[in-house]
Amino acid sequence: MSATPSAPSVAGWSGAAWRDAWRVWVGSEVPGWIFVAKTTFAALLALWIAFRLGFDSPRSSMLTVFIVAQPQTGLVLAKSFFRVLGTIAGSLATLLLVGLFAQQRELFLTALSLWVGLCTAGAALYRNFRAYAFVLAGYTACLIGFPSALHPETVFNTAVFRVSEVMLGILCAGVVTDLVLPQALGAGLVTMIRGSYREFLGFVTGALRGRLDHASMERSHDHFVANVIALEAQRDAAYFESPDARVRSDRLRLLNAGYMSSTTSVHMLHQMMQRLRRRECHHALQQLAALYEALAIELMPEEGVMPATAAEAAPLAQRIAAFRAGLPRRIAAARAALEHTADAAELLDFDSAAELLQRFTEEMHEYTVSYVALARPGTRAHKPAPPYVAHADWITAALSGVRAVVALLSLSAFWIATAWPSGAGAATIACVFCCLFASAPAPVLALRGLSIGFVWGLLAAFICGLLVLPQLDGFLLLAAGMTPFIMVGIKLVTNPKTAGIGVGYSIMFGNIIGVENVTRFDPLPVLNDGFASLLGASVAALVFALLVPVNGRRLRLHLVRSLRRQVLLACFGNLRGLRHRFENSTRDLLGQLLAGADRVGGEDRHLLGRALSVLETGHAIIDLREAAAIGTLSVGSRAALNACIRGLARLFEKPSEQRRRQALEGVTRATDRIETALQAEGIDTAERTSLKRGRVGLHLLRTLLLDDETFLTLSAVENPAIAVPGASHAA
């Protein structure tokens, strides 16, 4: 009896087939179920301890476990840490508010709304785990504030119990995640870093040999942006995981910075080559191609294999260092060969491309060195690591704050007007969601998932709380009765598609099941609280959809415009560490924009093109500013360079044909000045280098300004005829 591989019947499966199927199942399903079992256990453990200690509301501990539950230890600990900070801040704020306004409910609710608005704005400003502290500070104030507004004398006790319950939940979740079959973040991080290094190496060698087409370039850059942001998020969380990860944290930041700058310079190099090809500078191209090929061979010999680990990349770092040392000589030789055949313009092009190649080699070397450094345990970074600079958008943050204030005030008004006993619950839930989704790319969609989860959670709580639990007696049976219901929710969370529904289900179930010290089995409060939560979620969704929607045209246009205005940062920011800050915040902003981009409509490609042009321009401007900062420059030359920078800033603030012309004139004047300065006597090597870099920057700027396509990419927003495709579609 033999089974064909295409249609195997179960009866015909051999032992090997069964073993394969088993292995596939173990590989794909078991981690999820382990997570479900661990979280359920942690939740019930927290519930039990909370009962034993006689806390006011044991379910808060259980809910905390549901909320911080993550498969990897680092994520749990990071989320927990910021949850603790937020809870404490929120409790202190409530104590203050109740102390000030306990007698006046209107004043109290207004003050509370303002506090929540502030916290929401903070959460929108920081989109990583830090945001979570703000979320908690906001909604802890509601959780404690509403009950204590009715009984001000209990506020201190309520706050103490709330903090204790949250701490207990966090301790249980953290200890169980870390002790029982732990999954460390570190392992995934290592795989990710190796993967991105190899991917980048492949990309670079492909680009240097001119084997990449436009589409695959774009796809790779899309990946690079995602990698930068993911690496930072993982590094941030792994920091809490083990002291080992803390020691490496600086080196990881350095690696990420190196990664960003090398991706930009390889792009600049590639763009330069494209322009040379378009202008048919064959002689320069020929010489450059030889240089590129030499670097590509060093990076990856034709028959060579890519380094699989950081340790294996050590010889590569040495090869790049040797190449870097010999590069000026090679460039001088190539230039000498070129001088007979090429005219002055072509020579300038060659100089620019050679300068970019030199810079790229430098950055690739840095990147490889910091990659190799990861393999050595216990040593510090070889140079100070720049911090990750996220792009914080104040307008988006302020809008999020306003949304939360509006939602909370309208529900409070409804609560006061109708004297509905569950009004506080509705307001709290609205507040939770306004905070939680302040920085989500598609909050309305997320809220829909949550609301669906709410309905199912309400149903499950109804069945479990009113049909199952009354039959049972004692904690063990209570736990046994609740376990299947809890597991359903967490299983839903493990699947990314249903994660939102799972979170909604778990929160609703834990909240409504109402396991208290004195148990009541009464359907009325269950329904009242359930509907309050649903109303709260709907109001939050309404506010998100109506008040300047996050994915709406206006807000996106504002962000797309901010992307272009990043150039202003390069023009006027403090020069110290500017290159990294500019690079980092531009990439972060691009990541935010790409998260909500319409990929089918090609909006992502448009955004990428714009961001890459912005990066190119910004780096050229920074080169120019560094040249303008050298000591021996004459006053007139410095003024000309600064005027050129101001002209560029005006153009990028609001592009128009006239400003483009003015900027071009400024660039021409500055180029003349720099040429004169280069001829002058008495400048040392360092100054000469930065002047040369400035000249290359000016040359790049001129090509960018003359290039109609680039200008179009940058000014597309202002011109309605070529508005960003897909930006008008609101979520």
Binding site: D178, L179, S242, D244, R246, V247
Partner: protein
């Protein structure tokens, strides 16, 4: 040692500051051990860390009860 400490008119169990102290101590010890490469010889590092914390906290608790 007193079992409760008064702070601004609010009584809290002495165990609470002890918990925080034990946490800080554990953090310190942990970093030192990691720098020495000690965790390479441990089967279950997080279990070791947790046990270390329980030992520290328990030992401090002995002063109280």
């Amino acid at each position: 040692m007193p079992r409760e400490i008064e702070l601004f008119g609010f009584f809290m169990p002495t165990l609470l500051p002890m918990f925080l102290l034990a946490f800080g101590l554990q953090w310190l010890l942990d970093s030192v051990l990691a720098r020495l490469g000690f965790y390479a010889h441990v089967w279950h590092p997080s279990l070791f860390r947790f046990s270390l914390f329980v030992c520290l906290f328990g030992a401090m608790g002995l002063f109280l009860y």
